[in-house]
């Protein structure tokens, strides 16, 4: 059990938990948090899994994760802007249940 594997597994767990939350919850904010969990999990898998394969510190994948983190925060911010507009317009924290579509 090396560090890379452990954190890869940690990433897998985070992805699973996040995915669960993303589907289970209807509250938009909770789903956004869940999305961030998936994101964090994915980043852990990216680095841990790659470094496990390469056997050394992999700077390329680390740089990519940096990019990923920035994109994720941009996504979160964009989501929050939309959600808060939605709160203000509808006074609701979730989307209407899908009708037959």
């Amino acid at each position: 059990m090396d560090t890379n594997l452990i954190f890869t597994l940690c990433g897998v767990g985070l992805c699973g938990l996040g995915f669960f939350g993303f589907i289970y919850h209807r509250h938009l904010l909770r789903r956004l948090i869940a999305f961030n969990l998936i994101g964090n999990g994915t980043f852990l898998v990216m680095v841990g899994f790659a470094q496990r394969g390469q056997g050394v510190t992999d700077h390329v994948i680390q740089a990519l994760v940096l990019t990923g983190i920035v994109v994720a925060v941009a996504a979160t911010a964009l989501g929050l802007v939309l959600i808060r507009r939605w709160f203000q317009l509808k006074g609701s924290t979730q989307l209407p249940e899908d009708d037959a579509s």
Binding site: C15, F22, L28, R31, F35, I38, G39, T42, V45, M46, F49, A50, R52, G53, Q54, V60, I61, L64, T67, G68, V71, A74, A75, L78, G79, L82, I83, R85, W86, L89, K90, L95, P96, D98, S101
Partner: protein
């Protein structure tokens, strides 16, 4: 070749610079700057087309670092065709938007459009899996922004739905890319294809990538976000989304499927994709038939048409190279015809809604009498979508039919034919409303002629494709990574 003469970087620099400029310039100058940009963009696309047809596929090492360390761009025939397609459709939608939107809306529209355009070109030309991820995110943000800026309740809801689906999709894609990188140690598509080794890791990676891209393409049953987003956005935006944006993720999927020869090793997955496509055709058609709002009919029609494109996957069979070639060409032709037809149809629908001032079908009564040009534009697009001749849609359907015959998969024939009848049903249903005669006098608003002509010319291209199919087909059959990987 001299690097400065290559149009590839300009295809990215112009829209990115366009986005920056249009954010900074005063409102009144933004359109003018954009028009300049549009023309240079069209010119760059044509130069690229010339170079690719005359000198073969073009490769471009970004920052002069060769893949796999750096990021390469590739312009093979397929990519070039898509660059041309998006340039034409985006220009048409841009001119439409210029006349259609108010000054304030237009001011915000331009930078969003330029970002959208940059990301599309980036995706068509990309040859790096992570670069594709960033491109997809850029595309998603621009598209969500375009949906949201109609700024009413419906479009806001649609944009949230869209954003969530798209984010989940890209994350699944990224996870798949992470697994691929862990297994292969590279992100570049060419070196991935070279060192590809099937095993549990690659299989899971493919599944994740597939799932993510299917969600982003809105393939049935992951389509629920699409109709509200495409139906609720402003008209030129709807056209852009349906014609181009969903094609981006589909294009990536197609490249993966062929270049990594997934079709060869996971034929059952291909059949599953075909089944989803069949579901999309039937369900999308059925739902389009039940809508009461014009743009929702068109939006559900997109769901069904995505199904047609997806049908090409089970027809890419390793054992039969002729059938595979037909499926590949037919699928791309379908996609191309849909891009033009659907853009034309959305724009025509937008014009009609503008005329009547109401979004529902019932209000269309008398439109074919008072606004015949719009109905004609809508009809031409409809012909292609129904797959009736002469049109690009028909030729594409014909090729898919031939491919099904050749590979002995008769069940897709049934789906293709049933699907055409369904699409005929929902399109002629719209027509039936427009032909109803009322006593009402012509008190409807009249859109500018330029708006009508833009819709008409896009629809017209989808019809012309019926006579000029050979040209795009030769284009995508130019030697390149995709052609090498086909059986």
């Amino acid at each position: 070749m001299n690097m400065i003469l290559s149009p590839i970087p300009w295809l990215l620099v112009i829209p990115l610079a366009g986005a920056t400029l249009t954010m900074l310039l005063p409102y009144h100058w933004r359109s003018a700057a954009s028009v300049v940009g549009i023309f240079t963009q069209l010119m760059a696309s044509v130069i690229l087309w010339y170079q690719v047809t005359h000198y073969g596929p073009q490769f471009y090492a970004m920052a002069d670092w060769q893949a796999p360390l750096g990021i390469s761009l590739r312009a093979d025939g397929l990519a070039t065709l898509f660059v041309l397609m998006s340039s034409l459709v985006a220009s048409a939608c841009a001119f439409y938007a210029h006349h259609y939107l108010s000054l304030h809306k237009r001011a915000n529209f331009w930078p969003l459009l330029w970002f959208l355009w940059a990301s599309l070109n980036g995706i068509w030309l990309a040859a790096d899996t992570f670069n594709l991820y960033v491109g997809l995110e850029l595309l998603t943000f621009a598209a969500v922004g375009l949906v949201a800026f109609a700024s009413d309740e419906r479009s806001l809801e649609a944009s949230i739905r869209y954003l969530y689906a798209a984010l989940l999709g890209s994350m699944a894609y990224l996870l798949g890319v992470a697994l691929l990188y862990g297994a292969q140690g590279t992100l570049a598509m060419d070196s991935l294809a070279e060192t590809w080794q099937w095993g549990p890791t690659t299989q899971v990676a493919v599944t994740l990538i597939l799932g993510g891209l299917l969600l982003k393409t809105a393939v049935f049953p992951l389509h629920t976000w699409l109709p509200p987003a495409h139906g609720g956005a402003l008209t030129p935006v709807s056209a852009l989304l349906s014609a181009l944006v969903i094609k981006a993720s589909f294009y990536i999927l197609l490249r993966f499927w062929i270049e990594f020869q997934i079709y060869q090793f996971l034929p059952s997955l291909s059949q599953l994709l075909g089944a989803l496509g069949a579901g999309a055709i039937l369900w999308g058609g059925w739902m389009a038939l039940r809508q009461t709002h014009l743009k929702m009919v068109v939006a559900y029609s997109t769901v069904a048409q995505i199904g047609y494109m997806t049908l090409m996957f089970p027809l890419l069979v390793a054992e039969n190279s002729e059938a595979s070639m037909l499926a590949y060409q037919g699928g791309i032709l379908m996609l191309l015809a849909h891009a033009f037809a659907k853009a034309g149809m959305f724009l025509a629908a937008g014009n009609l809604i503008f005329c009547t001032g109401k979004p529902d079908l019932v209000s269309l009564a008398g439109m074919s009498r008072y606004r015949p040009l719009n109905i004609f534009a809508f009809g031409l697009a409809g012909v292609s979508l129904m797959g009736l001749p002469p049109s690009g849609g028909f030729n594409a359907k014909w090729m898919l039919l031939q491919s099904s015959f050749m590979s002995g998969q008769w069940w897709w024939i049934v789906v293709l034919l049933l699907g055409s009848l369904l699409s005929a049903a929902y399109i002629f249903r719209v027509f039936a409303y427009t032909y109803q005669e009322t006593d009402a006098l012509d008190t409807y608003k009249r859109p500018r002629l330029s708006l009508e002509l833009i819709a008409l010319s896009l629809s017209g291209i989808s019809i012309l494709l019926g006579f000029a199919s050979l040209w795009p087909l030769e284009m995508i059959s130019l030697p390149g990574p995709v052609m090498e990987a086909l059986p």
